[in-house]
Structure formats: C-alpha cells, structure tokens
Assembly symmetry: C4
Homo-oligomer: 467 residues x 4
C-alpha cells in the first residue's frame, strides 16, 4: 500500500524544490539590488565627505591637530554644498521646509589634565557630550565657516568627534526591473576616534539606513508585478503546509506503531525497547522535510512583510529561506534510497555518525586548547591571532592547507622567544592535527565505508526488530 | 592477424600526436601575438583617454558633477590630439578623406523629476538616447572646446554617457616572425555609468576589434611562410581522415560481430544479450580517436579560414584544437594497455566509473544545496558569494584547501546574525564535504584499486562472453 | 576504593579548567590593551617624524644626498614642534625642568677613501660614533635650524645616522576598563642605514618602551579592581598547589608499587622488569597535570609581579599561562578514558607514537636535506628561500598545499640553470614528500587505528603485567 | 669482519656531513652578501635613473611622445650628476682619466611608413642601430642638454631606445665580516621598448655585473681569513677523495662477487642470472655516496676558483654543493638500516618504486594533455596560462590545493564560450587528477606499506640468492 502513495508525494516534493528555488532566486536578485544601492551610496558618501579618501587606504587616520581641524571643516563644507555637487539622487532631509542640521558632537572626559612629562594626571572618567548644529540654510558663507563655527578641540579631554548627517535618496533603478522604487533614509555618522589617545585619530564613516515606501510617485506606463510575487509566495505557503501535514501524519503513524510495538514487546516478551530501536520507527527524512517546511513558511511570511515594507529584516528572511532550500535539496536524496547503490554515501555517513560525534569531542578539545594558547601568546604579535574568532579561523584554515606560509611570515619579529614559540606552535599543530587527528578521522570514515560495502555484498546482521 | 596490423596503426597515431602538437603550438604562438597586441592597445587606450587612470585602481569612479564634465572634456581633447601624442601605430579612421567623428551619447529617461527630500518622484522609464558628434577636423581649438560643445548633463535623467571612438592600428611586429601584419579596427566605448543613481559614476573603457588583411602593403625582402602553414594544415586533415576511416572500420567490425553474437545467443541459447555485454564489443579507445579526429579536422579547417582572414573565431578554433590534442594524448595510453602493469590506473578508473557517477549525483546534490544557501544568505555581505558562479568556485576551492582564510576574513561584519551564520556555514561545510563526502569518494577509489590488484594476483572472475 | 576518589579529583580539575581559562582571558584582554597602545603610538611616531611616510610603503628608502639632509632636518623640526602638533598624550621627557635633547649620532668608519673608478680604496674598519644634541628649548628658530645645526655627512665613511628621542605618554584609556593608567617611556631610534653603501639608505623607526606606575594621579570616582585580580591569582596558585600535591602523591604511589613489583619479580621469578613495563606503573596523565600546574603557578606569580609593575616580561608570562591552559584542556580528555569508545583517538595516537617518532627521524632527514639544498641554491634568487627559517617554513607550507604557485612565480628568472633547478626542486619535492613520505605516515596511522579497532572488537593480547 | 669496518666508515661519513654542511653554510652566507649588494644596487639604480619610479609599480610604461623625451632626458641628466647625488660608493668608469660616455642607441627598422587610416604600410624589416655618446665631462650644462643632444625619435621606425651606462662600485661592507671587499662593474641597460608598436613603451632597467679583485687597497688592522677558507676546502676535498676511494672499492668488491656468483650459477646450475639479482650485489647507498663525493669535490674546486676571483659561476657552484649536501644527508639514512623498524620508510619507497614509475608515465600523459589544452585555449585570456611553464606550475599547484580560487577569478570574462570552457576545465581537472589519479597513487603506496608490514610480521618470501 505504501507503494501507491510514494510517487504522489515524491512529485509534490520535486515540485516544491522547483518553486522554492525559484522563490529563492527571485528574492536573492531583489535583495542584491537593495544591498548594492546601499553599498554604492556608502562608498559615494566616503568619497564625498572625507578629505583625501582612497578606497585602498585601510589606515585612514590623522596625526596632527591642524589636520583634524581641516578634515572636520572639509566635511561640513561638503555637506553645505551637497545639492550642488552630488551626482546621485541624494538630498538633505527636509522637515517643515527646513533642512535638518548637521550635528557636530564632541565626546569628552568631564575633566582631564594629563602631563606625561611629569608622569602625573588628574582625570574624571565620566563622559560628556557637547553638540553644535550647523544649519545648511543659515547665511554662512563657506569661507567664513571657520570663524562662525568657532571650533575648539581640547585634545586631552577629547574621546571622539562625531558628525551626524541625514541624507535621503531614492533607488530609481528598480524601475527597470519592474519593481517600485523605494525611499532610503541614510543616517551617517563620521567618527574621529581619539579614545586611545595614542597620537592617532582614526576616521570612520558608518551609515544606518531606513527603507520606506515613498510618499508620492508617478511612473508612466509602469506595471509593477508586486501582486504576482505575493500570490506566488502564498502558493508556496500552501504547498508547504500540505507537505507539512502529510509528513506530520506519517511521523504520527510511526509513533503509534512504535507505541504498539513497545506494548507488544513488554507484554509478550516482557522486554523493554531500547531508544535506538524506538528511533527506527521514526523516519528521519520526514523530520527533515517538516523542519524545511516550517522554515519555508516562516520565511515566506517574512518575505511578504518585507516586500510590503512593513519589516526590513532581510538577513533573517534570507537565513530562513536559504536554510529551507538547503534542506529541501538534501531531502531529494531520500528518493535515491530506493536505488541501493546510489545510497552508499548516505548509509556510510549515517553509520559513521555516532563515532564521528564521539571523535569530534576529543578533536575539538585539542583544537580549543591550541586556540586559547595561540590567542594569548601570539595575539599581540600576529594579525591572524588578534581575536579568538580569528585564531579559530586561522587554525581551521591551516588544517586544510591554507594560510600556512602567511602565518609564518606575518609574525612581527618582536622577540626571539615569541618567534621560537610561534615556530614550535605551527610545526606541532599541523602534524598533530592534520596528519594524526584528521587521519584517524578519515580512517574512521573509510572503515565504516568498508563495513557497509561488506554488508552490501554479504548481507548485514539483522536487528531484532527487522528479524 | 590483428597482431600484424597494430604497429602500423600505432605509428600512425604516434606521428599524429607529434604533428597535431606542432600545429597546436604554432597556432598558439600566432594567437598569443594577436591577443597581446589587442591587450596592450587596450591598456594604452585607457592610459591615453582616461584622466588620472592608474592600472592598480580597481574602483575608477567619479563623485561630483564637476569631475564628470572635466573627465568627458579631457577624453575629447585627447581624441582631437591623438595623432600628435600617440606613440604607437594608431590613427583615426578616415572615410573619404574625413576622419570619423567621436560620438558623445547620453542615455536618459524620457522624464524624471526626483525629489528625495519630499520622498516623491515622477518618472517615465522609457530610455532615450541623444548623441553629439565631434569632428576632429572642424576648426575647434581645444581651449574653446567647452563652449562650442555646450555640454549639459541632466543627472536626474541621466543613465549613462557613452563616448564612441574608432581607431585603426597595424600590428607590424609580426613582420619579425615572418607573418604578414594585420590591420586592426578598434571600436572603443568609454562609458560613464550612472544607472544606479547612487552618487557614484563608474568609468569603464571597453573595446571591440575587427581584424582585416591590410589593403596595400610592401615588405622588403619578406618571405611569408603562410602557404607552408596551409599545406601543413591540409596534411593534418589528411592524416586525421585516414585515422578516422581506419577507426570507423574497426568500430563497424565490432558492431557486426556483436550483431552476430546476439543472433547466436538468441537462437542457440535463447538468451537476450545485456547492454553491458554488447558494449564490450565496441572499443572505447576507437571512439576516443574518432572524436579527436573529427575535432582536429574541424579545427584545422577553421584555422585555415582564420589564417586567410575570412573568419576571426579564434576561441572556437582553439577549443576544437585544444580538446582534440588532449584526447590524442590521452589516447596514447591505449598502447600501454599491452603492458598490464602500466595499465592499472586505467583499469581502476574504468572499474570505478559507475560508482563514481552514482556517488557524484549525491555529492553534487549536497554541494548545490550549500551553493544556493550561501549565495542567498552571504551574497550581499561577502565578495566571494556575490554571484552563483563565484559561490560554486569558492566552495570548490575550499574543498581543496584554498581560499578558506580569506572566506573567513572577507566578510564585512554587518550583523552578528550573518556573522554567526557564516562561521557555521564554513565550519560545517568543510568537515561534511572534505572530511566525510570526499573521504568516502577516495575510499571508493581505493577499494576499487584493491579489488583490481586482487584480481591481477589471483585472477578475475570471467564474464560469460570471455568464457 | 579508587572509584570513590575520582569524582572529587575530577571536579577539582574541571573547576581548575574554568578558573585558569578565566585568568587567561583576563590577562589576554589586559595584555592586548597594552600592546595596542604601544603599536598605535609606534604608527603615530612613524607618521609624525618621517617625511612622506606611508603605511603601505614597505621599501622606505632614500637615494640622493639631498633627500637624506632633507629627511633628517624634517625629523628634527618635527621634534621641536612636537608639543604644538601632536594629538595624543605625548610629551618630551623633562629632567629637572629641562626637556631631554634629541641625539643625532653618526656611525662612521675611522677612515675611508673609496675611489671606485680607480678600483682603489683605503679603509680603517674601526667604527666611531659622533653625536650632536639638539635641545628643544634652545633658541633655535626652525628656519635657521639648518645653519645652526651645520650638518655635514661624509657618505663614504658613513655607516648610519641614528636619531634618538625620548617621548613620554600615558595610556589613559584603561580608566574606562577600571584599570589604572600606566606611564610609558618610549625610546625612539630613527635609523638611516648606509651599512651596505649600495646607493640606498633605508630608514627605519624602532621604539623601545618602559612601563611604569605614574608618579602622581587622581581619578575621580574610580574603583580599581587591582586587588581583586591579585586575590584571584592567589586563589589559582592555591588550587594548583593542591592539585600538584595530589598528583605527586599518586605518582609516588605508582612508583612504590613499581619498586614492589620489581622486587617481587626478581625474587620470585628471577626476571628483570623491562623499562616499558616499569613505565606502565606511572600514569602519563598525572605527569601532564603536574607540568601544567607547575607552569600555572610560575605564570601566576609572574602575572602578579607584572600587574604590580615590578616586571614587564609579558611574553614569558603569556607563554607560561598559555602552555599551562593548553595542557589543562588536553588533560580533560583523561576523563573520557572511562568511556572506551570516546577514547579511540587517544589510544590510536598513543599506540602509534613509537612508530611516528622512528618515522619522523627519517622524514626530517629528507626534509632537512631539501632545506639546505634549497637555501643555498635558490636563496639568492627567491624571496621565500632567503633565510633557512623561511626555507623550512616554505617547504612545510608546500607539503600542506600552500604557497606552491607563489614559489613558482616569485623566482626572478636570473639564469636558465637556476630556473631549471627550481622547477626540478619543486616538482620532485612535493611528489616525494607529500605523495610518498606523508602517505606512508598516514598509512602508519591508519594501520594503527585498524589494529586498535580489531583489538576493541576481538580483545587485545594482554601484557604479562596485566595477566 | 664487515662488522669491524663499519663504525670507522660511519664516523667518516658523519664527520663528512658536519664539515660539508659547515662549508655550505659559509659559502651561502658569503654568496648572500654578494647577491644582496648586487640587488640593492639594482634597486638604487632604478630609483636614481628612472623618473617617477616606484617599487610597487609593475607596469612602468609611457603612453605619449612627450613623456618619452622627458624620461630619456631625465636619465641622461641624472647620469651627468651621478657623482654629486649618489649616496653609495658608486662612480662612473674612468678609462685613461676620462669617464666612459653614456650610449643612447636607437633600434630602428631600416624603413617604415605605416598609415593605419588607409590600411597601408611599407616596411623594410631589417633592423638598424644608431648610437649617440654623451660624455659626462664635455661642457654641457644640463639646461642646454636638450638642444645639444638634439634627440629626434621616429616612432614609426623605432623598435627600442637603449641607454647603456657603466658604473663601478666597491662592496666595502664585507670588511666587517673579515672578507676582502670586491670591485663591481655594473653594465646598466635602460630599455624603452616599442617593439609591439601598441601605443605603450615599457621601460626596464637591467644590469649585468662583473666582480673583480680591486687593484689597490689598504685595510688597517685587517686579517682576512681567506687562506683559512681555502685550507678548509682542501681538507674537504681530501675527505671526499678518501670516502670516494673506500666506496669505489666496496662497489668493486660487490661487482667481483657478482661475477663469481654468475659463473657459479652458470657452471653448477646452468642458469643465467637475471638483472634484478645482479643488482642486489651492488649497494645503492655506495653509489649515492660516490655521486655525492664527486659533486662535493667538483663544487669545492669551483669554490676555491670563485673565492680567488678567477671564476664567477656562483650558480653552478651552489647547485653542485647543494645537491652534494642533500645526497649526504639522505645518505645518513643508510645507518638507520641496521635498525629495521626505523627503516620501514626506505623499504616502502624502494618497493613501491617500480610501480610508482609505471604509474607516473600514465599520470604525466594525462597531465600533459591538460597542460597543452589549457595553454592553447585559456592562454590568451588568463594570466596563469600565458606560457607552457606557467600552465604546468598552475595545474601542479591546483592538484595540491593552491591557487584554485585565483584560477577561477583571474579569468578575464572575454566570451561566454571561453568562460564555460574554463569552468569545465577546472571542474574536471581537479576531480580527475586529485580525487582519482592521486588517490590511486596513494592507494599504491599504502598497499606497498601494508605488504611490507605483513612481511615484517610474518617473514618475507626469500629470493633465490638469499636462500
């Protein structure tokens, strides 16, 4: 009887793969257009507001008092002239016909008198913020800007100078892809960072963005296919609900069967049924499909909200839809299980899983011990070991044969001791981890494969349940 | 009787390898000279026509209105002065004694009124093109250029400014390699791209090229070996035709034998003959040689056409000849099959093939699922995941131990969620794919190798046909 | 009876892991703040004192006499104006109200008359040093600096010009992390290096640093948690002493048992006990824990000294603590030994160890032979082979599949002979070492794994002792 | 009796390793000093003579006529002022009190009239060279240089402008290492390369060098250890001669024994002795030592000649000594052969050798076929495939997991066809070669290892000779 039901379900699943992938691709393309616009604007702002900015310049920083004044004034002047200079659809935010001002905020210690030559200092570490507003429409000629602004910076107390701007833009290129242009509100923050008081002020420009439906628009001869997309999303939700219900039913049936069997075993043979035997009643593939369906439904609902501009959590939505699609694709392999030879990969991985997990616990222990040690000892002297996450990434890359030579050469040769330690560290880590731990891991997989092959040829010992 | 024929055929094949390789190398060298000339001209054009162009500058873009005007005028001025400045054999195209004009074309929306500060816009997305021609011989002094051109750009409507040039050049360096110099027509397009309206106008210079035989020439003491090359190509075509005929005959003989055997089996033993048994009658090596010969013949004919300047499809020709040469070289291994010990690689690969294919289907499924998921989630935040093709390439590199550390570090740290996902993605992909899937694959190959070794030592079970 | 004691010890060890890791992280964060401040100051000094300095410029060097004068004067002028220009908390060192002078020292040969055009030279290789002091407070206007300094450089005799500065700074940012700001004494040395007399003077800026407790300070509303940290460190020392004592006792017990057994064997069976049997009485894990405890205690004492500013050997301390933490983490695996299946990695590695060591001796021999040969032949022509340590690193990377293509392409094509040798070198090294030596190594590990698996399934042969 | 002789010989060999390595290191250090001086001078020349030269600038080229004139004049002016500007011990060559002139040579076609606009050209490809000499001492003021030089360049005929200079330098830094300073004659060639006539003139500076003993010198308090080095070299030659004689004798003894055995077999058993049995009489290790000794002797003699400045073939000498040292180090493993367990690596490699060679023939065939195909098809579109040698290097790197991602991304996306081909090429090459061919290779090695292990445990079948 199971025979008859399968092709029907299988066709549902295959159709699901197709439409989910189509949905994913359409969402991806729309997402990309939005991200590209945001990013290009960010680059344009950097080139527009920052003096002498170059894309390649990773260490964009200032070193003298004069330069700091100069850069701040440059940014303000550029802001005042924005409308005349910019190429893009960018404009100042207007509230009641007045352009919003630029805010120039200084973060200062409440009090600081630092005299390094005497090795004395008085400090009150409470942080205060002082802001000045510069109105684009006030009658300041850019030449007299410096006088009227009267900018004085007390570098000893200064923690940071923040310049806050608000700029609006419209992404009209979406018109060519039959999508409705959106309005973007960029909140730009240009930060002159002096928190370290190390003689170096780093400049960074960051930008938050809010995306809205524009207030008023008129597109000649447009036919936005927005409604179509929503209908398609709803269709997907229906499909997945159907698939979800079918799979849940199957899992439920399996569960009932298991209860039945347990009662039978305890009453007839007065044996308790082990967990591994119980799990055999539940089909792992169904669980996979149920999870994937749930994710798709959640993702699709979120997508509808995003496309009607009620939410902007693109990232969450893409993670939900991406993971769902991944599981759906992996789920296809289920239908290969009817052809035993195709199925050896899955069987091997399944059989090896318990050992893999046990093994991984040991391996992760050694890995973490190396991570901690490397972070603490090499962190101050080596770029790749600066943060714990970078150490983990670097060691992981080294296991797989990447970034090894760079790890040797990037070390600033501070002291012989550290240099020696770093050699010992790398020369011991790779043999221990790659040649030994990883080899044992692969031997474990190979061993499992051979066992499975042996069973396929000569028949496997049956579990009590199957018997 | 087969014995007697083999060395004769083998010598034909070995001779074929030699002459095909010679042909390939000669074509390659001539091809390279052409490509290098095209490329060096392209670089020269970029340095010549683009203001402040630098080779290292990947992001060559403009950010203010003034700069855009400035760069466009610079390009036009350079064009007008081309003859006085250029070092190379480059000149403007002349038609009836008049130099062809430079075309300055603006791509514009038919109508666009975008007011970001009010969040309103009116747009007619139909694209119009307006062109102006600048004649090099018209009495414009370069100083008054700006006035006479009267260039006004409506940046709100503007999609792109395209400057079209036509430049002719002669590649006379081929004289030194005894080849006839060709005439090149470069159609240059300098594009100021504002389609995104993001405050950034990207400049790109692309160049199409048409290669002709020059109209009139005179080379003192030249002896072009053109005829020689054509004769050589014809010789190769003959050789390959001969080899093609011989191999086709052998395949045909095999086919007849198979029909005979099938009839015998069905009449005597009333058994049908399976496909795998039928295929044993057809020698795979002959098929390989037939394909390689067909490709060589097609490639050689194309090469003759190219060298007589009737066609310019260098790429198609090089793919045909390249693939043919590859197959011919692989075909040599056939003659190693007479020495069984040399042959173990081929035997192993052949025996493993069916399992490899079955296995690959599963592996590709997992691979694709990761690709989709990575593209959609990480695409907007990571350079390596921008397009589907790049994701595929990046994951493939990671399986083989390349680009792992870069994949960790290139991620712009947008949000914690995406950051976490990216770690999970990489840390799960490599163990699953490299350590587990790939290990099973290698175990599969190793297993096959051991089986073959076992058969070589102890004798293989014979198929019914061999028995 | 052993049963009862174990959980108690295990809990001690697990608690130890937690607190040692906490200590490590806290030390790491504090260490990082110090290193970052040092480094940012160094960068600031470079930008401040060196003319036209750029971060990306690896080869910062001068080539004409005029430039050298110019750069030296620039540095001096900057020093005189330091107080007016610098952003950071940096000041000249004051001794008795007088700023310490800048020292400009020339290293010269006692005598050198080199006439390359005649191929003659007279030289007295004894090196002399001549110094001039420039006082910041002396009434030198920066314009007349060149006259008053009267700087003459005899480039033939000149080995190096060294400029020595002393600059003081206070790292006040630690206030925000509840730590007491320290006073830093930077001893800067700007070196114009002409030792090679090759027409190129390389400029380098290095900086030594001494960290002191500041003389006088006043922090409003501060509560430095210094005492807390010391208490925590003492707690760790106590913990480790306890663990040390317990483990030493266990080792001692094992030793006594072994002596007993040896006496028993020699008296009853008149057999001598082999070393490997003797070692079975000593639990390797205890040795590991003892070493780790000793390192932790040493590291913690050092840490207390550093935090009370009596010592500054951060590197030694971080190596001690780092190694200790690593061993503690690895030591955890001991408790997995009670679950046999988890334990297979450890068992395999332990069983493979003797063969691994024997094997490594051979492999290292081949490796060293390649290193020597590569260093001597390719060293002058290839960046990666410049020093012995780099050769070792490069070959090690190549074994693991990194830096191979770069090794091919970085070779400056000096002579055909060297080019050919380099190809032969790389094309032979990787197959010999990666494909053959490393494969045998992995086969050795795999073989051991399979033996262990076999024993686990079918039982291992018992040693005499166990019997 | 062999027993007694061994330790004596072994000590000789171990001593030889030590002194050969010492010799190698001393030669390497001296070699490095020379190479570094040459290289730093080359860099200094580039910065000195080339206008706007930057180290990072890989594409140093000119694009307009004016620039070419400008750069040539700059170089000449710099040459005339060399003595006033240079920092190093560099001077013009003087012959009879007169400085040698700078030669400015134009390479020109005898005749060239190229009119790209008409697609016509007349060319006489015979190349002529016209030279002008500029004397540093002639009364040319640098301002009037342009007039007096009267430089006219016919860019249509021009193939290259070569500027030849001669500069002398003395490497006096060797004084500090107790070596005698040498005199260097640099022959500099600055080439403005217009051979391609592509609108781009590439500038390159190359430098030949001749190293001589200086004519006259005087070093106060010097004690050059030159004689010591020669004595040491002679000692090594003696050692190696001794070792050579002893080993030759042993090989000879083996040969005699083999003759004897062959005679015995043919007379008693009337059997002929196979080649493999004959080879068992000849100890491979002795052959290795003989080769290494011969190389050392040749290298040492060459080294003596170099150090007495009679020869300058550093490269040959370093290859001889390097290879010799490598063989000596590998030869040490011979003495491990007395401990069977240490010896398993050597045994495995030796046993696997015949199969490895057979296998490699097949693998190299496939490899070459890929190389040819990649070179011809991708060469024009991809930097890594430009020359055959680069293709080979790139594919080799890809097998070992390097440069894979770059190979994907470096492709200029010319045409879809080539793009598709490149994907297919890489996606097929790595699975075929790395996963399949290389796996079979490693299976072959592993198989051999297991056989050897089996023999070690259960005893190997004896050959007739051993029996």
């Amino acid at each position: 009887s199971t025979r008859g039901r399968i092709p029907w379900k299988m066709m549902l699943q295959i159709l699901k793969i197709v439409i989910i992938t189509v949905q994913l691709v359409s969402f991806g393309l729309s997402n990309e257009m939005m991200v590209t616009f945001k990013e290009e604007n960010l680059i344009a702002f950097k080139h527009f507001f920052l003096k002498n900015y170059k894309d390649s310049n990773k260490h964009y920083a200032l070193y003298t008092k004069h330069e700091v004044h100069d850069h701040i004034l440059y940014t303000i002047r550029r802001y005042l002239q924005l409308q005349n200079l910019t190429i893009g659809n960018q404009a100042l935010e207007m509230i009641d016909g007045l352009a919003t001002p630029l805010s120039l905020c200084q973060q200062l210690y409440r009090h600081a008198r630092v005299v390094p030559s005497n090795e004395t200092f008085e400090i009150d570490p409470h942080v205060e913020t002082e802001c000045v507003s510069v109105y684009p429409l006030s009658p300041i000629t850019t030449d007299s800007l410096e006088n009227s602004l009267n900018l004085t910076l007390d570098f000893q107390r200064l923690l940071a100078v923040n310049i806050y701007l608000k700029i609006k833009a419209i992404n009209i290129q979406t018109v060519r892809h039959q999508e409705l242009p959106d309005c973007y509100d960029f909140s730009i923050n240009i930060m002159f960072d002096n928190r370290a008081h190390s003689g170096q002020i780093k400049i960074s420009l960051s930008s938050g963005v809010q995306i809205n439906v524009c207030k008023d628009w008129n597109i000649s001869g447009s036919n936005s296919h927005f409604a179509l997309i929503v209908v398609f999303d709803c269709l997907i939700i229906c499909f997945c609900l159907l698939s979800l219900i079918l799979c849940t039913r199957s899992v439920h049936t399996g569960f009932l069967l298991q209860t039945e069997y347990r009662r039978f075993m305890s009453s007839q043979h007065s044996k308790s049924v082990s967990w591994s035997e119980r799990l055999e009643f539940i089909n792992g593939w169904y669980i996979l499909i149920i999870i994937s369906d749930a994710l798709t439904i959640a993702g699709s609902i979120l997508k509808i909200c995003i496309q009607s501009k009620e939410l902007t959590s693109y990232d969450v939505c893409s993670i939900l839809l991406g993971t769902a699609t991944m599981l759906v694709w992996i789920g296809v392999m289920r239908y290969l299980s009817f052809f035993q030879k195709y199925y050896i990969l899955i069987l091997t991985l399944k059989a090896a899983l318990p050992n893999v997990i046990r093994f991984s616990i040991c391996a992760v222990m050694i890995y973490l011990s190396y991570c901690f040690c490397g972070w603490i000892v090499l962190g101050p002297h080596h770029e790749n070991f600066r943060t714990f996450s970078r150490v983990a990434g670097c060691l992981f890359s080294m296991i797989n044969g990447d970034e090894i030579y760079s790890t040797f050469t990037k070390l600033r040769e501070y002291s012989t001791l550290v240099w020696l330690f770093s050699r010992l560290y790398v020369y011991s880590f790779i043999p221990v981890f790659t040649y030994m731990v990883l080899s044992v891991f692969i031997a474990l997989i190979t061993d499992t494969y051979e066992t499975i092959r042996h069973y396929q040829k000569h028949g496997a010992p049956l579990s009590e349940l199957q018997a």
